[in-house]
């Protein structure tokens, strides 16, 4: 279990916290989404959790091990994919993975198999400097997976990817969960979070404003209603029914009277909930 408690971080040392009083726990095998717009403090939290930034205040515990006491060997269990693809541009994709594979003292995956899985087999022997941003992003993720980590940190893993590659990436992340890995997913992509995450936390201006499973958040903050589109004399019309006792009866009666064209539940998206809670969108 990963336990983060009372985390604060001040980059300039003037009491201007980029992250304030952030607390959460992640259970083993869970995909935990950290959602927020750019600058909300998502990457700061990930960097503190991976030891890339100093732990100034609060605690980050991996079971009984504090982030302050991490040794290099701990990282045999960890994979980190960064928001900005950071690979050796003068090395080929294959060489990048072979190099990092050589640093681990646990069994690692075959770099070529991993590159094939990422759709980079044909470019395996091209220098990473010749890759597009999306290809470098996939290479960065491949590097994070090379040691089959127990704990996987993914910072905007679908950034710069086309829809097909993004879908493939989603499948890959789900495979990691099936394998038993714990995934900390930092993103502002609500669809990705909604599809993948067991729980999400909304981060705004360095503070967590809501945290729950996506379905619970929708139940809690969404509208319990259905909308029916139907054809009438004037063309297309629609009507919405609240799903309380009266509304349910009215909905049933109405459906029996008209020819419905579409019926949609009116549950809120994570984006709508985020706007409701913070007054701003996830992509702003």
């Amino acid at each position: 279990m990963i336990k983060v408690e009372g985390l604060y971080h001040d980059y300039v040392g003037k009491g201007e916290y980029a992250v304030s009083d952030v607390s959460f726990t992640i259970e083993r095998g869970e995909i935990f989404g950290f959602l927020g717009p750019n600058g909300a403090g998502k990457s700061t939290v990930q960097n503190i959790m991976t030891g890339l930034l100093d732990l100034q205040k609060g605690s980050v515990m991996y079971d009984d091990l504090s982030v302050r006491d991490l040794t290099p060997s701990f990282f045999n269990r960890v994979g980190v994919s960064f928001e900005q693809p950071n690979v050796y541009l003068r090395l080929t994709g294959l060489e990048n993975l072979e190099h990092f594979a050589g640093l681990f003292s646990v069994p690692t995956l075959d770099p070529m198999v991993l590159l094939e899985r990422m759709g980079l087999r044909d470019e395996a022997r091209k220098r990473a400097g010749e890759y597009s941003k999306g290809m470098r992003q996939r290479l960065t993720l491949a590097r994070a997976l090379i040691n089959q980590p127990d704990i996987l940190f993914l910072d905007e893993p679908t950034g710069g990817l086309d829809p097909s590659a993004a879908a493939s990436m989603r499948d890959l992340i789900l495979e990691q969960k099936e394998r038993g890995a714990t995934v900390f997913l930092t993103t502002h992509n609500m669809y990705l979070a909604e599809e993948l995450c067991d729980r999400v936390a909304f981060l705004e201006s360095g503070r967590i404003v809501a945290m729950d499973s996506p379905s619970n958040l929708k139940l809690k903050h969404g509208q319990h209603a259905v909308s029916v589109e139907y054809a009438d004399h004037d063309g297309l019309a629609s009507r919405t029914f609240e799903l309380d006792n009266e509304g349910k009866q009215a909905f049933t009666d109405f459906i029996a009277q008209v020819e419905p064209l579409t019926i949609h539940s009116q549950e809120a998206t994570l984006e709508q909930i985020f706007i409701k809670l913070t007054g701003r969108g996830l992509t702003q």
């Binding site: 930034l53 290099p72 060997s73 990282f75 690979v87 050796y88 640093l103």
Partner: protein, 326 residues
């Protein structure tokens, strides 16, 4: 060891793909060509180096002049050394040489049978074979080119990694500080040694103590690579780093003056590591029988100390929590 080898392989590939490596290769060819074809084996156009009045003096570069005043004039204007024999006394006229230098010079040039010679000369060793003029420069090229390859290249690789952001990825791997420092040091110890051997073989030939040469070059390359990394950790990019290392580079080359003009040998210059290395290369390539044990010992101690300092600095400034994320 596996990690060090993985890092070593990767650094070697990066080195081969760096344009500066090929610049160094071209420099090696140019140095060899310079030594063989551009610098003469003998000094030609031998100018007057000694102005003499009142006595016969055999040898080249000597001008017998008509008066003591003329001697003084030549010393002042041409920077030559003057000898005046008058009324049975011998006067050496010079323009600021040390007493030891003058004594040594006089002892060297005065024929043993000269009745005026006040100096007894006792040779502790056999006089060495004269070194061809063009080969006198080889120790300089080795000490200031081959041995300091690591000083520059390790820093360039390190700063490249910093700029590409891969150090963050390394920081969250089990790599660790010691393999990181060890791999770069080892790589440039190998590269520096191969470079220096090629230079020596192509110029001086194979008749020198190769093992002493290798030991000196490995130690020297390790030391300068570690020193280069120690400096590089304080910089974010290659441009700012380069501006700062130019003065250091110049300082490191000062012993070349002592090598060319032995009278310039202030005590502080001996503290510059290249000083002992330069004279040690000269001794290995053109032996006179001096022991190099003290040079090797001192360089070993300096290298070990540099390794610990470098590891501490890399950990603190490059691979620490604070150092990695800007």
């Amino acid at each position: 060891m596996n990690r060090v080898m993985s890092l070593l392989r990767q650094d070697f590939k990066l080195l081969l793909r760096n344009a500066l490596f090929w610049v160094l290769t071209v420099a090696l060819v140019l140095i060899v060509v310079t030594v063989w074809y551009l610098i003469p084996r003998e000094q030609t156009g031998f100018e007057t180096r000694l102005a003499v009045y009142g006595m016969e003096f055999p040898g080249g570069g000597v001008e017998i002049v008509a008066s003591p005043g003329k001697v003084e004039q030549m010393v002042r204007e041409k920077g030559v050394l003057g000898i005046v024999r008058e009324d049975g006394a011998l006067t050496v006229v010079h323009d600021g040489l040390s007493k030891q230098a003058v004594t040594a010079f006089v002892a060297q040039i005065m024929p043993p049978q000269t009745p005026l010679s006040p100096i007894q000369i006792e040779r502790l060793r056999e006089a060495p074979q004269p070194v061809p003029y063009n080969l006198r420069f080889v120790p300089i090229f080795i000490a200031f080119e081959a041995v300091i390859v690591g000083f520059f290249m390790a820093a360039i690789l390190m700063l490249g990694e910093r700029q590409e952001g891969v150090l963050e990825a390394y920081r969250v791997s089990p790599g660790g500080v010691v393999p990181y420092v060890a791999s770069k040091s080892l790589l440039f110890a190998i590269v520096g040694t191969v470079y220096a051997l090629l230079m020596a073989f192509a110029t001086v030939g194979f008749v020198f103590n190769i093992w002493q040469f290798i030991i000196l070059t490995v130690l020297g390359s390790l030391f300068y690579t570690l020193l280069g990394m120690c400096v590089a950790v304080f910089f974010e990019d290659i441009s700012s780093w380069f501006l700062a290392v130019v003065p250091l580079w110049a300082l490191n080359m000062l012993p070349m003056i002592s090598f060319s003009v032995p009278t310039f040998s202030p005590p502080w210059i001996e503290w510059i590591p290249s000083y002992s290395a330069l004279f040690a290369y000269d001794e290995i390539l053109f032996p006179t029988g001096k022991s190099l044990l003290s040079v090797h010992s001192l360089l070993s101690v300096e290298t070990i100390a540099a390794f610990f300092v470098c590891a501490a600095l890399v950990k603190r400034r490059l691979l620490s929590a604070r150092g990695c994320v800007s």
